[in-house]
């Protein structure tokens, strides 16, 4: 299917804690992005424009001992979402279209004003434009054999702890892929086989060694033994390669393998359960640091309560499918490539609440606590040289919370506020093998609050 709205919701819930509060909630979730829209032939167009102004307490993610710089921030965000009309009305029963697609493009212009006038020039140089684009194309949707193509591109603006634009982590994430879908019997059972490629390219040449690309082969299957409840399975084999790691990086190529099995769907008429459990292995390659592999359980569990039966955002038939009200609590465990070495694991518990009060007040509250575990870290060394330990295994505690609330003055105009808090409790990390006293504090905390106006169609 096209990226289902249920999946969108889950994506939103999962990523909320990962995504920084600097990211606009409505850009991540089409349910919030789109209004009534314009019908142009077979297309639905949903343009939007938002302006926000607010405060950021720690623009450079610095530890409290490293002189955090707080700034005021202006953010202008135009966006456009479009979809084939029939695709927009997809749901149980589906569409008889041959091809259906939906896509979103958006940009985000950021202007910074330092609270301390001494920092004004350095801060203002970080003005920049973030961008995102994503496209999904369904071929022969809801047929026994169908296909799906997808592509995405995101330009992420992220300063490092150095207030110098030459050290900014600005980067582009780009990717795409396809999936072959076999769904006999009206879609109660389906099996999919797909391929995807995702690359990360840093814009500053000094971070060229961090550029990477990942090829992923993936298969997944689902059996809906009830109309809204399914057993499912997914497995993926990735191939992550750093294009130019150099001699001083900690990065290792790897071939991560994941497999999960579980259940997803309604367990009562108001409660939904997502429970997937499985195993993952990193299969890291040798490199500048000793190989360490994660070989353990992975999984995800989420209990979701749907308080209402599909409130309607705008009264339009399409939006009837985009009901937002739900309350979820969950836990997820997974691993990822680490910029410090082989990998890290993350256990995250989270709570999410989204509700559309009386068709006027749209709210989204997300919060989570994560435990991030790093194995023993080593300094890079040439092949054959003895490894020098950097630290023993350690954990970070991360806290995140964000609230987005938008009051709709009219169907197409809303005033909103975004409030976010993030905290990373970590340790001093040695940075020089020849000077044990040279450390960098990985801890930081950040508070943001923005007030804005949004026009959406």
């Amino acid at each position: 299917m096209k990226f289902g709205f249920g999946a969108l919701g889950v994506a939103f819930l999962l990523n909320a804690g990962v995504a920084s509060a600097q990211e606009q909630v409505w850009l991540q979730d089409r349910r919030f992005l789109e209004g009534k829209g314009y019908q142009v032939g077979d297309l639905e167009l949903h343009p939007g424009l938002a302006g926000e102004f607010g405060y950021d307490s720690n623009m450079f993610h610095r530890a409290s001992s490293e002189d955090p710089i707080d700034v005021y921030r202006l953010r202008i965000t135009p966006s456009l979402s479009l979809a084939t009309a029939e695709a927009g009305k997809r749901g149980p029963g589906g569409t008889s279209q041959t091809v259906a697609f939906n896509g979103t493009v958006g940009a985000s212009y950021n202007e910074y004003f330092a609270r301390d006038s001494a920092e004004a020039d350095r801060v203002s140089k970080f003005r920049n434009v973030g961008a995102l684009a994503r496209l999904e194309l369904d071929i022969l949707p809801n047929r026994p054999w169908s296909g799906r193509l997808h592509a995405n591109l995101t330009r992420t603006i992220q300063p490092s702890n150095l207030s110098d634009t030459a050290y900014a982590y600005n980067r582009v994430h780009a990717g795409g892929g396809g999936e072959l879908i076999w769904a006999p019997g009206g879609g109660l059972f389906d099996w999919r086989l797909g391929y995807a490629y995702q690359t990360t390219i840093f814009e500053e040449s000094r971070f060229e060694s961090l550029n990477s690309g990942t090829h992923t082969l993936r298969t997944r299957g689902r059996w809906r033994f009830l109309p809204r409840t399914a057993f499912m399975f997914d497995a993926s084999q990735g191939f992550t390669r750093y294009s130019n790691p150099g001699a001083r990086t900690y990065l290792l190529d790897s071939d991560p393998l994941r497999a999960r099995l579980g259940l997803s769907g309604l367990i009562t008429d108001r409660f939904g359960l997502l429970a997937l459990a499985g195993w993952g292995v990193t299969f890291a390659h040798s490199g500048n640091v000793p190989v360490e592999n994660y070989d353990g359980p992975i999984g995800q569990a989420q209990l979701t309560f749907y308080p209402t039966a599909a409130p309607d955002l705008t009264g339009a038939p399409r939006e009837a499918m985009l009901a937002v009200s739900q309350i979820g609590v969950g836990y997820t465990r997974d691993f990822a490539d680490s910029y410090f070495g082989s990998f890290y694991t993350r256990d995250r518990g989270y709570l999410t609440v989204s509700y559309f009060f009386a068709g006027k007040l749209l709210t989204s509250l997300q919060g989570g606590i994560s435990r991030v575990h790093f194995p023993t870290l080593y300094y890079p060394a040439v092949a054959g040289a003895p490894a020098v330990q950097r630290t023993g295994p350690f954990n970070e505690q991360r806290y995140d919370a964000s609230l987005f609330a938008e009051y709709r003055l009219a169907d197409s105009v809303g005033v909103n506020t975004t409030v976010g808090y993030e905290q990373n409790d970590s340790r001093d990390l040695p940075v020089d093998p020849n000077n044990p006293a040279a450390v960098d504090d990985l801890s930081w905390q950040r508070f943001q609050a923005l007030l804005g106006v949004r026009w959406l169609m």
Partner: protein
């Protein structure tokens, strides 16, 4: 005189012979489509019609047979469009029989009109009775045409599943696949930590 006697006798014999042949023919026609009890009841009711009413009713019977023929012909064309050979053969056979009945009914209607014109109530009643039988035959053929079975009904093809969802359930579909939740690593704030 002798010759006249011979001629009269011959004419009488010919008339008697013709009458026997016609009577036998009528008798055969009645045997080919023996009406059932209900038909008899209908006929008994309808034969009470006046000759003019019989003509009017007979015209209605012919129009009805014509309509039956058109309907079956339409079904036959649809079956041919669908390349359903089995159904087309069946319908073609029924249509042929309906056409025969229609042609016969048309001839009987002419005969009925002539009998009415000659003010021969017995013959008109007889013709009308045959028309009623043809009407019943047309209805029977129409029913049989509707029962013609096509290829798709004779074999089990691809199954279709219909799912009814309780409208009181939430519109969101949690049985969809969760999104790709693979963590995308973020570089740490400190540059010196990774280079």
């Amino acid at each position: 005189m002798e010759l006249r006697k011979v001629v009269r006798l011959g004419l009488a014999s010919a008339l008697i012979g013709a009458g026997l042949v016609v009577g036998a023919a009528y008798a055969q026609e009645a045997k080919e489509s023996p009406p059932n009890v209900n038909d008899n009841a209908t006929m008994r009711r309808e034969v009470k019609l006046s000759p003019e009413e019989q003509v009017k009713e007979a015209e209605s019977i012919l129009a009805g047979l014509d309509m039956v023929g058109k309907n079956v012909r339409k079904q036959l064309e649809k079956a041919r469009e669908d390349r359903d050979v089995v159904k087309a053969l069946c319908l073609s056979d029924k249509l042929t029989q309906i056409d025969v009945a229609k042609k016969s009914a048309s001839e009987r209607l002419d005969a009925l009109r002539q009998a009415v014109a000659r003010q021969d109530p017995e013959l008109s009643t007889h013709e009308y009775t045959i028309l009623v039988v043809l009407k019943e035959r047309g209805a029977q053929l129409a029913a049989e045409a509707n029962q013609c079975i096509g290829v798709e009904a004779g074999f089990v093809g691809e199954s279709a599943v219909t799912v009814d969802v309780d409208p009181n359930l939430p519109t969101q579909d949690p049985s969809e696949y969760p999104s790709d939740d693979t963590i995308i690593s973020q570089p740490p704030g400190c540059v010196s930590c990774i280079q």
